[in-house]
Amino acid sequence: MIKQTKHIIKVNQLRKSYEKVEAVKGVSFSVSNGELFGLIGPDGAGKTSIFRILTTLMFPTDGNVSMMDLDVVKDYRFIRNNLGYMPQRFSLYQDLSVEENLAFFARIFGTTIEENYDLIKDIYIQIEPFKKRLAGQLSGGMKQKLALSCALIHSPEILILDEPTTGVDAVSRKEFWEMLIRLKEKGITILVSTPYMDEANMCDRVALIQNGEIMSIDTPAKIIDDFGRKLWAVKSDNIYQLILDLKKMESVDTVFPFGEYLHITSKADEFNEERLISDLEKVGHSNIRIQQIKANIEDCFMQLMQ
């Protein structure tokens, strides 16, 4: 198979150790030019460490990382010029107004708001009515939009966003992802991390990461296909007791709570649904519902974690 796309980010056997813990344990992945790549994993999985190495803010303990075919250790200056980065805690300058924040970041990158206005127009237009307001007084969603505008103001080739939607309401999250997809259409390579599994579907490809190791890299659809087992959603009136009772059952393999339902798998990959209901009624459950469902990314993640 001939590779059509050029890999703009290449990570090979990357390791990162802090004094006592090894945060990243031999991670390899590559991101193609113009791809929207997601790093999906819970807090403490090593996402921020990887991003800080990619953005030249930290040294890798071992392994090779190149961005735009440049080494992150040797050529950090050049990489920094062509990178848009939005750190996790990035909260802008609270005591500067929206406009001043943007103008400041434009200026330190040697450009002006006008020069790259096209790129940020879609995003900035939403916060422009508040441009005289101090950034500290913006809502969480608006702050993220401003932060994204600031990261984009110098028209970078690669945009790296560390958990941009953490702590943002559902509507703003959706809007934010729509913005990312529009940016991708403009040809910017985007690397984004998130702890929210449901956001994985918006990415071209995702890497599922846990405890500093990548468990799977693929398109979201392929990862779901690879689940390879049947999955049922169960609920009853006493959901907590239901977890305990299901875990006791011989035929049941895994039980994970998922919203108001429990997602379960069977050891035989098949359930006699009626028998399961009657077994559960015997131990005192009422209003039992069970139905077979299609797995989502989170189910895959849970399974991979086993």
């Binding site: 930290m58 040294f59 920094r80 805690r89 909260s91 005591d95 330190i108």
Partner: protein, 368 residues
């Protein structure tokens, strides 16, 4: 350059929008200088004194009357032996004892001179100085107006003795000391906090990833504080000159240059602190404990260095403020030029260079 100016502009925005910063920058220096100034006031009234008259003749009585009727002094007790002098001071009520030598009038008539000893409690050096000067003034005006007027070439020689702190450290100490303290605070603490704030807020990560090099970042941070500190120094000097009539004997331009040097030193110290502190809190604590307290206590600002235990004297010799206080005192009070204080100037300059080198070495272009 445009990048750099944009950065400096941003810093000024930070400062002018935070009323607490403004308060520390401008409210505190003025408040401190006024408080110190008025606490260490030059006015004295009703100072309790003791008199040990070994002669008890007409002239000593007359002088005693002049002193007690001046309104500045109250005769608290008459002493009758040398031993009582020490005891009287120990009680802490009297600030001064005047001792007339035996056969005062007789000596004056026979030899033309007689001496009076003025002993003051100099643990409060400023008051002691003022009190003895007033006493000397009263005696010399008596001598001129009453004795000399009668045509006698008599001379009364006052011998001043300071108890407890005989070098009178502390006189006019508050202006140089306060200046050192405030410049240290404004320059070192504020810079270190403002750099640490960028780290804490996560904006440092973005700044580092930007094409802005570390050196412009640091200089951009420092310039606003340098300007403001310098304005502060001028305000302090002006206040002490106009409100407290502190003399400026030396060259004002030279004084300002030395002040600028000290500001540089404090700023580089601030940068150094910020390189080791990850949060504003840490930066503030380091500044407080490593700078403020030693500057106040060990620089000779409040307590004379000579009276400290040896160990503290050694520590005080690494306090930049100590040298600055000497410099300012020499220029303002004695009118000295570089010839007298080149050593101190060199020490401050050396410290500046040292701090700068260490902080440039320690400043990270990365997060680790």
């Amino acid at each position: 350059m445009k990048r750099f100016l944009g950065f400096v502009k941003k810093e000024f925005h930070h400062i002018f929008r935070d009323y607490r910063t403004m308060l520390i920058l401008f409210g505190m220096p003025i408040a401190q200088i006024l408080i110190f100034g008025y606490v260490v006031s030059n006015e004295i009234t009703d100072v309790k004194i003791g008199i040990y008259d070994k002669s008890k003749d007409d002239i000593t009585h007359e002088i005693t009357n002049k002193i007690t009727s001046s309104g500045f002094f109250i005769l608290h007790e008459n002493l009758n032996s040398d031993k009582e002098i020490e005891q009287a001071f120990k009680k802490g009520i009297i600030r001064e004892v005047i001792v007339f030598e035996p056969n005062f009038a007789e000596k004056l008539h026979r030899d033309g001179t007689a001496s009076v000893q003025i002993i003051a409690d100099a643990s409060d050096a400023n008051t002691a100085n003022i009190v003895t000067n007033y006493t000397k003034g009263i005696i010399s005006s008596y001598m001129k107006n009453e004795l000399m007027a009668q045509g006698y070439p008599y001379e009364i020689i006052p011998e001043v003795r300071m108890l407890y702190n005989n070098e009178l450290k502390g006189v006019y100490m508050f202006v140089p000391g306060t200046m050192a303290l405030i410049l240290m605070l404004v320059s070192a603490m504020m810079t270190s906090i403002s750099i640490a704030r960028e780290k804490e807020m996560g904006t440092m990560e973005v700044l580092l990833v930007s094409p802005l090099r570390p050196l412009p970042i640091v200089i951009g941070k420092v310039i606003p504080y340098m300007v403001l500190s310098f304005i502060n120094a001028v305000v302090i000097i002006a206040l002490s000159y106009f409100v407290f009539a502190m003399p400026i004997q030396g060259n004002l331009v030279f004084l300002l240059l030395e002040t600028l040097l000290f500001i540089f030193m404090a700023l580089s110290l601030g940068i150094l602190i910020s390189t080791v502190s990850e949060s504003q809190m840490v930066a503030m604590f380091i500044s407080m404990f490593a700078l403020m307290l030693p500057t106040m206590l060990l620089s000779g600002f409040i307590f004379p260095i000579e009276n400290m235990p040896k160990v503290l004297q050694w520590i005080s010799s690494i306090m930049p403020a100590r040298y600055f206080i000497v410099i300012v005192k020499n220029i303002m009070i004695k009118g000295s030029g570089i010839g007298v204080i080149w050593k101190e100037t060199l020490v401050v300059a050396g410290m500046t260079i040292l701090f700068l080198i260490v902080s440039i070495k320690k400043f990270k272009v990365r997060l680790e």
